[in-house]
Amino acid sequence: MAFAAFGSSNAPAAAKPTRSGKVVIALLAPGLAYLGAFFLTPLFALIMVSLEVPDPTGGYAEYVPAFEIGNYLYVIGEYLPHILRSFGYALAATVLALLISYPLAYFIGVKARPRPLLQKLMLTLVIAPFFISFLLRTLAWKQIFSNESWIVSSLHDIGLLAPTQYVVGTPFMVIFGLTYNFIPFMTLPLYTSLERLDLRYLEAGSDLYASPTKVFRKVTLPLSMPGIISGTLLTFIPIAGDYINASGDFLGSSSTSMIGNVIESNYLQINDYPSASALSVLLMGVILVLVTFYVKKSGTEDLL
């Protein structure tokens, strides 16, 4: 998927698989057992905690196992704005990332094809933001758009922004930051898809008198659909769960809090584990629906 862009994508046919049960088990068992212990079991732990109730005899932040489905109704009622905001922001940022990435990925994957070194250099530039700390690059945008910055004062001067309005802390800023931070997750799978695009299909289209727009709509776009789908999945999911960008210390304010912010503060600050867990399980549920949709469309081999 995303990082497959860095492996050799045009691999020769895979080795003919041989049967050898013991070797397979020896190779798979340690890693899968690890994921079982530290990925799957924690998810079950999360579900159990999400159903707990406060300990009637205990003190602050003490809970006992129970089967309180009501926790879910409570979090949906209490945090509906945050839930809607998360998915709204995630949708907006994913669409923006797709619009920004597609022409770029097309340029790298199709137009730059005759120059492999240039292609590789451009791919390095695409992932360059990953190499500087996530938090530092987010803070950099905060400073660039800070209330005292020349950008904001010129926006005030030309009247695009009312004198009392600022950029940091608005939904615009949060969506901007989310788009920026996750754009490589969109560009890379798009590139992988477009790099494999057989240009003869495009020629065939124009030979048959299709306009460039029509060729794009009928040939290029459908052929790059796997990249669009996996890019969308890879950006939407982490964005929906992010809480750095929307946090008040970074690009957001209390009015931009997302699900992640609620989970973080309920879990780590006010120790309301059941509500934080219930929200996590809900978030995971939505993600699983999306993944299932993807698997139905593309199968499990394309996941990795």
Binding site: A14, F39, M122, I132, S133, I259, I263, V295
Partner: protein, 266 residues
């Protein structure tokens, strides 16, 4: 005229897109040379001091050291476990294959808050004290799948005839693996290890849920963000950035040189 303008649109767009991607990096670099005091918000003049005295600022180097330690240990384990799975996935057909693929994909598809809160709940239930080792356990978990993806691409590109040749020359399976398969896989394993280290080093969300009082570099920046991040943090971020980019460029140029040599031979 119209034609040439149309031809220039995409390259121009790409340049603009790259500028956009690089702006915050450039900003962080510039402000690592700021002669700032405790916070680093306003430009106060140029200095090399922050680069030469990074460790003067309390906590920065300690957090950095912790992050490097966590990164190295997590990378070793994640790369080992992930490489084994990648070999199994490409070289063998087995039942439950799609379940294995799914199990490997899910950690990559799960939002970090969910991974973090889940693992924290598990540690809480088991009564495990959170600290450096709980962070390492978490990092191995989320790096593993990325290692599998990266190494898998490399295994798939191996020519099985090379291993066959080894067997024909009476090498036993162990010898075939260590003398042929492993050296050929090494570039893939190396890039997986780099990726794994980068993911571990930069992780904040999962770490924050599973850390005790131990600082990592991202945790240091997060805590400092409330009152202003000192320029020394920019120095660390930029140094790591420069190192990573150098490694990536060196591998790419090395690969290109090899490719050209091969092209000459043929």
């Amino acid at each position: 005229m119209r034609f040439s303008l149309g031809k220039l649109t995409l390259p121009l767009y790409a340049v603009l897109a790259f500028i956009y991607l690089l702006i915050p990096i450039a900003y962080t670099f510039v402000f690592s040379f700021n002669d700032s005091l405790k916070t680093n918000l306003i430009w106060r003049g140029f200095t090399f001091d922050k680069w030469t005295n990074v460790c003067q600022r309390e906590g920065v180097c300690e957090a950095f050291g912790n992050s490097v330690f966590i990164g190295i240990i997590s990378t070793i384990f994640a790369t080992g476990l992930g490489t084994m799975i990648a070999i199994a996935l490409v070289r063998y057909r087995f039942k439950f294959r799609s379940s294995v693929n799914l199990l490997l994909f899910l950690p990559m598809a799960t939002p970090e808050v969910v991974l973090g809160a889940g693992l924290a709940s598990q540690f809480f239930n088991l009564g495990v004290q959170k600290g450096i080792w709980t962070i390492i356990i978490a990092h191995i978990m989320f790096c593993l799948s990325f290692v599998v993806v990266t190494v898998k691409a490399r295994v798939a590109s191996l020519d099985p005839a090379l291993e066959e040749a080894g067997r024909d020359l009476y090498a036993n399976p162990t010898q075939v693996f260590w003398k042929i398969t492993f050296p050929l896989l090494l570039p893939g394993i190396a890039s997986a290890a780099l990726l794994s280290f980068a993911l571990s080093f930069d992780d904040f969300i999962i770490t924050n849920f599973n850390a005790g009082s131990d600082m990592t570099f991202p945790r240091y920046v997060y805590t400092a963000a409330a009152r202003g991040v000192p320029a020394e943090a920019n120095v660390v971020g930029c140094a790591v950035f420069a190192l990573a980019i150098l490694i990536v460029l060196a591998t790419q140029i090395n690969g290109e040189v090899k490719r050209r040599k091969l092209a000459k031979v043929h």
